[in-house]
């Protein structure tokens, strides 16, 4: 979907930087990147460094950066919606009206990005951008350290100890779906959207999984 956005803005001073938060490494991202025939930057972030630097907690999240390198929209959900929570999990289908609403939300977000590139609209003034910035707590900072160590240990053949650090990271930073789901995926591909994931989503209750971007 980002290639289409990029195609429409080829004549602008604009770049998309798509970060794969992928601790299993490049080969697990390859098929999606090749399928997208992406002409923008597609980078592999095995340690979730970008999420750490920007205080991101889920995918997809996006940050808008102006030509001077300033953040004009802090991390926000990049147009996804919670309609997946209404999915029939046995047939894995979503009612047509929910599919349509989901598509409309995604389109509206991509339209906003396009609008920003062409007209500057939707860029937040500095005080509003600062106000929306995620707050990093000491627990989150410690969680990032455990997560990095856990990924490293797993990659170097010490899964048991690595998993303990990944679990500690999620305990310290329970709002990070990235940490929890990446750890589940490292345990076994597919586990990130298994039964435990759905239970965790259900435990959100009224809280959104994908908070709507405030455009």
């Amino acid at each position: 979907m980002w290639q289409q956005l990029f195609d429409g803005l080829k004549n602008e001073e604009f770049m998309i930087v798509a970060i794969a938060e992928e601790s299993r490494g490049a080969d697990h991202a390859r098929q999606w990147i090749e399928q997208a025939a992406a002409q923008y930057w597609c980078l592999i972030d095995t340690e979730h460094r970008v999420a750490d630097l920007y205080g991101m907690v889920n995918v997809p999240q996006a940050v808008w950066i102006d030509a001077a390198g300033r953040i004009v929209r802090p991390p926000e959900n990049a147009g996804s919606t919670d309609h997946f929570r209404l999915m029939d999990r046995t047939t894995r289908t979503l009612a047509p009206e929910h599919q349509a609403a989901r598509l409309a939300a995604r389109t509206a977000y991509l339209d906003a990005v396009r609008d920003w590139v062409l007209t500057g609209r939707h860029a937040l003034p500095a005080d509003a951008a600062t106000g929306r910035m995620p707050r990093v707590t000491p627990e989150i900072a410690l969680a990032q350290a455990h997560f990095r160590l856990g990924v490293w240990l797993r990659r170097h053949g010490n899964a048991a100890e690595g998993d303990a650090h990944l679990a500690e990271a999620s305990r310290l930073h329970p709002d990070s779906w990235n940490m929890w789901r990446q750890a589940a995926d490292l345990d076994a591909v597919g586990n990130a959207s298994g039964e435990a994931f759905w239970q965790r989503v259900q435990a959100l209750g009224e809280r959104p999984y994908y908070p709507a971007p405030e455009l």
Partner: protein, 126 residues
């Protein structure tokens, strides 16, 4: 030998007794320089005991109130960024810089895109 993971990167260093490092290695791992006043960066110096030319990088990091975690064997250490450090960077609104590889392994640095508007987005296969 110990592997150290920090904002400076990943490196293997000759550590003793935990994470006691030579001045040069301590600088590589932390970005701070050992001077007579202590470990220094910009205008700030933090006094630190020096033994036979070596400093305890883990103790130094804790003095800075930044996270230190290691594996049980003491072979791999993470000197993490502190909450205050991350918050200050974000409050300044300048996009934190990073260098990451593409599928072919070629590194790309965000700040090299200065002059362009950038839509930085994340995704995952999981």
């Amino acid at each position: 030998m110990a592997t150290v993971l920090s904002d400076q990167g990943a490196m293997t260093l000759a550590a003793t007794n935990g994470l006691w490092l030579s001045a040069d290695d301590a600088e590589r791992a932390t970005g701070w320089v050992l001077k007579p006043e202590g470990m220094c960066r910009d205008d700030v110096c933090v006094p630190l005991p020096v033994r036979e030319g070596r400093v305890d990088a883990a103790a130094f990091w804790r003095l800075l109130d930044r996270p230190v975690v290691s594996d049980a064997a003491g072979e791999t250490w993470v000197l993490g960024a502190g909450a205050a450090q991350r918050n200050a960077a974000l409050a300044g609104l300048m996009a934190p810089d990073f260098t990451l590889p593409d599928l072919a392994g070629t590194p790309h640095t965000l700040s090299s895109l200065r002059g362009k508007q950038v839509f930085l987005c994340t995704w995952a296969s999981w």
